[in-house]
């Protein structure tokens, strides 16, 4: 394999900038894609060479346009492509196309992407390699009788999920046997409506689970290590909002058990490059394999902060065939890191996306903080893209200190003219249960009374500011001098003609 000298970043926003930074450090020339949807985007300023997609006429969004991207890579003679997360990051067809065109795809093999991306295959892989799984129907449920039968076998509560679904739609939790038939039919209906596929499967329902994931790195020479865990339990409708590393829920014993499972999965799929194995952890310390993400994760910086390892750098080094020089015993989790996602969302009305122009953004950095941002003054938040604008990652020797540093940093982060999740993040970090580490994926719905943090007298200050501005406005209108005389002064030319025409 050859050394990568040039790299196309097939992504936008903060992750494009994040990748470009490491690439620059490694002396790799970066290419980026300019789209008509945000031709003046911030990430383009961080890229050496811009490939213009603004003239492209296609229904396929730019970052999903495989043919066009492959064509551009070849046209510019670029060695490799980094897909970031989302878009083509977990598309086996794209990875395959890269191989066919002798382009280095920074990520695992198409085969691994395919296998791990397919829920059924991934679970089979797990079960044959002694990785615990949630008990379930192992396939779709035939009818309500079948549903009852399986539910009895795995024990209530159970959850019904749409086979082609995601994002919480078509899901039903069933607590008692008397509801199973009704709920099954409802789940089917919903699944049919939402995804035009009524297939539904069943799983054991874990109450108040934690979301724990393990970062792994694997090279082409059979070396696999893990970089510890991340806890991403603070989520809303399966959208992660705050992540941390390590997790309070893991002791060394559990950590070693779970990491072994993670490495087993990676081995079983002949995994290469950086990947993440996601588990659910129940209240009694049982864990269950959920899925493996075959890409760099949004929340990778927390791992980087506690391990001191640049994950993107290793992604690139592995992709160019280098041997993993870090040994498992060298990996130490030092201190604590917390990531807050800054999304353009209106927390006060159900996390709805908030569109607009970011008039100004200001953040005073400090040595405990890292701010991965995809925006700058004047950036626009449009409906074309994801609402995540930036990530604020803070470090502390202990979890307590990391929380304090995060809160301080959030107070130093100011964004004008759009609503963001900053007040939400503050509310979580100030929550006594969060501070104690008593969190689960139902934290937001179960434990949070108010989803945003308010300082004392904020409403009073708002009321005052409105009154003052209104007062000033009225005064301006009252004092405006309207010069009527000017309207009466006319040149003889005009006056004459106007008079005549009447």
């Amino acid at each position: 394999m050859k050394k990568i000298k040039s790299l196309l970043i097939a992504n936008r926003g903060e992750i494009a900038i994040r990748i470009s930074e490491t690439a620059k450090k490694m002396g790799i020339k970066t290419y980026g894609i300019k789209t008509s949807k945000e031709p003046n985007a911030f990430y383009l300023q961080h890229i050496d060479e811009i490939i213009d997609f603004t003239e492209v006429l296609s229904d396929i969004p730019e970052f999903l346009d495989i043919n066009r991207i492959i064509f551009s890579i070849k046209e510019h003679n670029i060695d490799a492509v980094h897909p970031g997360y989302g878009y083509l990051a977990e598309n086996p067809y794209f990875a395959q196309k890269c191989i066919e065109n002798k382009i280095i795809f920074i990520g695992p093999t198409p085969d691994a992407i395919y296998k791990l991306g397919n829920k059924t295959i991934a679970k089979q892989l797990a079960s044959t390699h002694q990785v615990p799984l949630l008990q379930g129907s192992n396939g779709n449920i035939r009818d309500s009788k079948h549903a009852k039968q399986i539910a009895r076998k795995i024990g209530y509560p159970v959850i019904l999920k749409a086979a082609s679904g995601g994002g919480g739609r078509g899901m039903r939790i069933v607590e008692h046997e008397k509801d199973i038939e009704k709920m099954f039919r409802m789940a089917q209906n919903e699944a049919d409506k939402a995804f035009s596929d009524p297939s539904v499967f069943m799983e054991k329902y874990v109450r108040n689970p934690r979301h724990i994931e393990f970062q792994v790195l694997a090279d082409h020479h059979g070396n696999i290590i893990h970089l510890g865990e991340r806890e991403c339990s603070i989520q809303r409708k399966h959208q992660k909002l705050i992540e941390e590393s390590p997790s309070v829920a893991l002791n060394n014993e559990l950590r070693s058990k779970m990491s072994k499972a993670a490495i087993n999965i990676a081995k079983a799929s002949k995994y290469r490059n950086a990947g993440t194995v996601e588990f659910l952890l129940d209240e009694s310390g049982n864990f269950y394999f959920m899925e493996m993400n075959t890409r760099i994760q949004v929340e990778h910086p927390v791992t980087e902060m506690v391990t001191g390892i640049d994950l993107v750098e290793w992604q690139i080094r592995i992709a160019q065939g280098e041997k993993l020089t870090i040994k498992q015993q060298d990996v130490k989790l030092n201190g604590w890191a917390i990531e807050c996602r800054i999304n353009a969302e209106d927390v006060q009305s159900g996390f709805t996306p908030y569109l607009g122009t970011i008039e100004k953004i200001q953040f005073n950095k400090s040595k405990y903080c890292r701010f991965d941002s995809g925006i700058t003054d004047g950036s626009m938040v449009t409906a074309n893209f994801d609402s995540m604008l930036a990530k604020l990652i803070c470090f502390g020797d202990t979890r307590e200190k990391a929380i304090i540093n995060s809160l301080n940093a959030l107070n130093r982060l100011q964004i004008l003219s759009i609503k963001t999740t900053i007040p939400f993040c503050k509310a979580v970090l100030n929550h006594p249960k969060f501070k104690k580490g008593e969190i689960s994926t139902s934290f937001i719905t179960k434990d949070m009374k108010q989803l945003y943090h308010q300082e004392p007298d904020e409403e009073l200050i708002a009321a005052f500011w409105a009154a003052l501005n209104h007062n000033v406005q009225l005064d301006i209108e009252d004092k405006t001098y309207v010069d009527y005389e000017k309207g009466k002064n006319m040149t003889p030319w005009l006056l004459n003609k106007r008079l005549k025409s009447l």
């Binding site: 569109l355 100004k360 009154a467």
Partner: protein, 177 residues
């Protein structure tokens, strides 16, 4: 015959919140907020970058007007949004009088919180609904958002069809209390 305006030097402004909480300010330009009998001064600080802060009782608040329409203001204080309508003593009375009348009106209008495309309606006309029940799915920013009912009631009207594109504040559904 002269008709003159009675104009005292005291200009009183009443700021009302969404939940009809009221705050009174006399001559806000004198930059203090009265608490009890004490006038506590306010300081307005703006920095080079254009951020404006209010300093009051040793606390610093970032303030930002994100929307303004006539006397209606939407203000972010430290990123939290507050809807404030600034009233005169008379218009405040009027507001209270109208609010009393409005209680009698029984129809709640569910408006689009943002522009987007309606993916599907989850309810039908004449259906009974509970507070917190999702009414429809609106897609914006590639995200499907559930629009939730804030009251118990019965669906009176559905004003759009699935696949329709709607603007912010369009009345999507009318719910009878």
């Amino acid at each position: 015959m002269m008709v003159s305006r009675s104009k005292s030097k005291k200009q009183k402004f009443i700021s009302c919140t969404e939940k009809n909480k009221k705050y009174e300010f006399v001559n806000p330009k004198e930059l203090y907020i009265k608490q009890g009998k004490e006038n506590i001064p306010i300081e307005i600080v703006s920095d080079k970058q254009g951020f404006v802060y209010i300093v009051w009782k040793k606390r610093k608040y970032l303030v930002d007007i994100i929307e303004k329409n006539q006397n209606q203001y939407e203000i972010l204080v430290n990123g939290v949004s507050y809807s404030i309508s600034v009233e005169s003593p008379f218009s405040y009375k009027r507001r209270k009088y109208l609010a009393k009348n409005k209680e009698a009106s029984k129809v709640e209008k569910i408006q689009a919180p943002m522009p987007g495309k309606i993916i599907e309606f989850l309810v039908e006309e004449n259906q009974e609904i509970k507070e917190g029940e999702p009414l429809l799915i609106l897609e914006a920013m590639k995200m499907q958002n559930e629009i939730i009912s804030n009251i118990h009631g019965k669906i009176k009207n559905i004003n759009f069809n699935a696949e329709d594109t709607v603007m912010k504040d369009d009345v999507l559904i009318e719910v009878e209390k």
